[in-house]
Symmetry: C2
Subunit: 451 residues, 2 copies
């Protein structure tokens, strides 16, 4: 089974668009999965992609649009009329539709919504737009299957056939009381294996995990992952069932979070993509570079304090080692902090601080010793004085241990103070370790060599 | 709804274990979710946790065991007899059971498997163990619901009640022919809304995405994400349906991949966790540190080439700037490479290389200019000669642009050669940029200042 869009297909589609052969286009693309259609759209020019979106059935294009990069989707929507956008939204689940509307320029929103023919759908979208960002309310969809506790299984199946039409995946059937308050759940499996005449209230599972509309999205993701849930119902303040969050939204959320952490570790403070504008990239990157610059200026001051060493022919070689020391301090710090940041995120950092401290010192000793031996071998080859090589080796070991300790404890301290420890991996640790490392190196060298 | 295990509960459980009050323990923990039980186990001492696993119903403890950190689970299993482990495995889905067996010491495997009472279950586990790591075969579970195309809906529902007992979540019902070859699928929704007398072959959806047992797990994850699948059937070489992979396995897979990339960016080359042994950490970290050391020694050679500058009272300050230059080159390189690595992973790096080149140069110019201005302001405050400040500022700009270009193109080149570009973020880029940056800095300074 080939899950790839061939370049021949793209060439063919481009040709058919340019010759406006609509019949051939619909035939060729009839069997194409929406995710593949999205890939095709991304390979086309904007006008060609817009042409396809206009031509093909909204049922397919609406799903393909959701798979596109946000920027490209916005560009296509800009070319469509309010009515055409409304047709696409009509085919989307309410949560996707609300996301798309949130991307539209403000002045178009009202016009687009008023063009949605299904009033219920439009109302749902407006409701979803009213929830605060980063909450379960903003993440959930209105599509779900709910039954009342006083129905029979047979009546329930009848009613469900109606509801299920609008729901892509049923997952769970939610059971509510007369007021719409969440009482419990039923799986399709339970329904399938129950007697037709039995009442829902006698067979449903009253234990159901749920979140409220204002639960933070991070917490929703945590709960769904921890309890292996594929969907979770969302209730309002009065316990009335208002929507549900499904696992596919959480998959996207997990990926986004991982990308954010990765970028933070690399010194990029906003969510930017390769194809974003230069200005957006500057805003995301420059603050960290300025931090690095100030750190570098800190090293300038430290090194100035040892300026007279330059006049000492025997020891001025020490200055050649500053980049090496700074790099090792930075690398070790980033390694230690990355491990701790991940451990904190997974709640797997346990045990006492003293034990962790001893472990990092042990690890620093082993790594430091290995590197110190390499330095001494290098010094022998270069015919350095042994005292000089030993000084560099000793200082390097000390720097590695201190860098590991800083890398370990800064994230732990940040975490305890309620600050995202991910901020500590990357430029923050590198910069502070550079300064500490260089100072320690020259200070120890002065002590040992006695200049 | 509180999704937290309180420390009171843990204290209470510990007390009840130590007083061996089994009745009270089972009562207290009767309503606890398996994911919460896992959290409780992780807070206990090994002997206490083992006591609980032995005491409680395997149906709950088997699921809790799957949620534990691998090391802790191994420790508990080591204390259990082959028969006790077999009881836990009996309650697990086949894919989880196979994973657990793969963690056991080789000499115990046979004994444990022969203690599994359900022969079919044992056979399935042995089959799963036979597939190569990192393939769909190793990822899939044998639990699924399948129906034959010549059955009626009514017959199908009867048969399914039987099959569904062993399947936690039905997702899709797979339709096979008389030989067990995959023909298509049905959703529970379809079954629920079909006439009891109609034949499966008249109502099933013949279009079904599938993978084969030897499809790579990364590819399975890609397909399931791309096509928004919650489960995908797995067939053998002769198209016979042999298992299915579900979305929860993919969620774990995505998280693991993200963690691996994050660690690689931090210079950690194996999957290690905070609580792994010092030896494992050394093996994961030391190679990158040695790379950094060699890079640092490279800088030593470069700086030695400019040793005579130290005798020049006016310009020897340049040496104080080496850590700053190295740090900026490293930071910029990591930023650029992180963006490209993510873009490559998401297939969102499009367009021509020339355009990207111009963009990185533009970005480097803006960031470089901002930092150059800061350097000049700093120089004015420090009452440096303007020529000296301008030299540092110019060299810094050049270094930033070159570092951005290296950070951008190294991952692209690696990717085109089929090497994981993630390796380029982190120590690899930092080290090479350190060397390039320092060389460029001194070389330009020499050109401009003419020493």
């Amino acid at each position: 089974m080939a899950f790839q869009v061939s370049s021949e297909l793209i060439k063919k589609v481009t040709l058919l668009i340019n010759t406006k052969d609509d019949n051939a286009l619909t035939t060729v693309l009839a069997e194409v999965h929406f995710a593949d259609l999205a890939e095709i759209l991304e390979e086309l020019q904007l006008t060609e992609a817009t042409y396809l979106v206009r031509l093909l059935d909204s049922q397919k294009t609406s799903e393909a649009l959701m798979e596109l990069e946000e920027d490209f989707r916005e560009d296509i929507l800009e070319k469509l009329s309010a009515k055409e956008i409304a047709e696409e939204l009509e085919e989307m689940d309410t949560d996707d539709a609300a996301d798309v509307i949130a991307e539209l320029p403000e002045e178009r929103v009202e016009n687009v919504i008023s063009n949605i023919e299904d009033e219920q759908h439009a109302e749902y979208i407006v409701e979803l737009l009213s929830y605060a960002d980063n909450t379960a309310g903003a993440l959930m969809a209105k599509e779900l299957v709910k039954v009342k506790e006083n129905w029979t299984v047979a009546g329930c199946v009848r009613e469900m056939r109606q509801q299920a039409k609008n729901v892509t995946r049923v997952h769970s059937i939610y059971v509510v009381d007369m007021d719409g308050k969440l009482k419990g759940r039923l799986s399709l499996k339970d329904l399938l294996t129950a007697e037709a005449k039995s009442y829902i209230k006698d067979i449903y599972i009253p234990k159901v995990d749920y979140v409220t509309v204002d639960t933070e999205d991070e917490e929703v993701a945590r709960i769904m992952q921890k309890y292996d849930l594929e969907a979770i119902p969302v209730v309002d303040m009065t316990n009335i069932l208002v929507g549900r969050v499904t696992i596919d939204d959480i998959v996207d959320f997990i990926k986004d979070e991982a990308e954010k952490d990765y970028q933070l570790a690399a010194g990029i403070s906003q969510d930017v993509e390769a194809d974003d504008s230069i200005l957006e990239h500057t805003r995301a990157r420059l603050p960290w570079l300025i931090l690095g610059l100030f750190g570098g200026l800190g090293s300038v001051f430290i090194l100035e304090g040892f300026e007279e060493v330059m006049l000492n022919e025997k020891y001025r070689n020490l200055f050649f080692y500053t980049p090496l020391i700074a790099a090792m301090a930075g690398n070790v710090g980033v390694q230690s902090s990355a491990i701790i940041v991940q451990g904190l995120a997974n709640h797997s950092v346990k045990g006492s601080l003293t034990k962790r401290l001893l472990k990092e010192i042990g690890l620093g000793l082993i790594n430091g010793l290995a590197l110190a031996i390499l330095i001494i071998i290098f010094g022998t080859i270069m015919q350095y004085e042994l005292a000089f090589s030993l000084t560099i080796a000793t200082a390097l070991m000390a720097v590695i241990i201190v860098a590991a300790l800083i890398g370990t404890f800064v994230p732990i301290i940040l975490d305890r103070r309620g600050i995202d420890p991910a901020i500590a991996t990357g430029p923050f640790i590198t910069t502070s370790n550079d300064i500490f490392g260089i100072f320690l190196f020259f200070y120890l060298a002065k002590l040992i060599l006695g200049f």
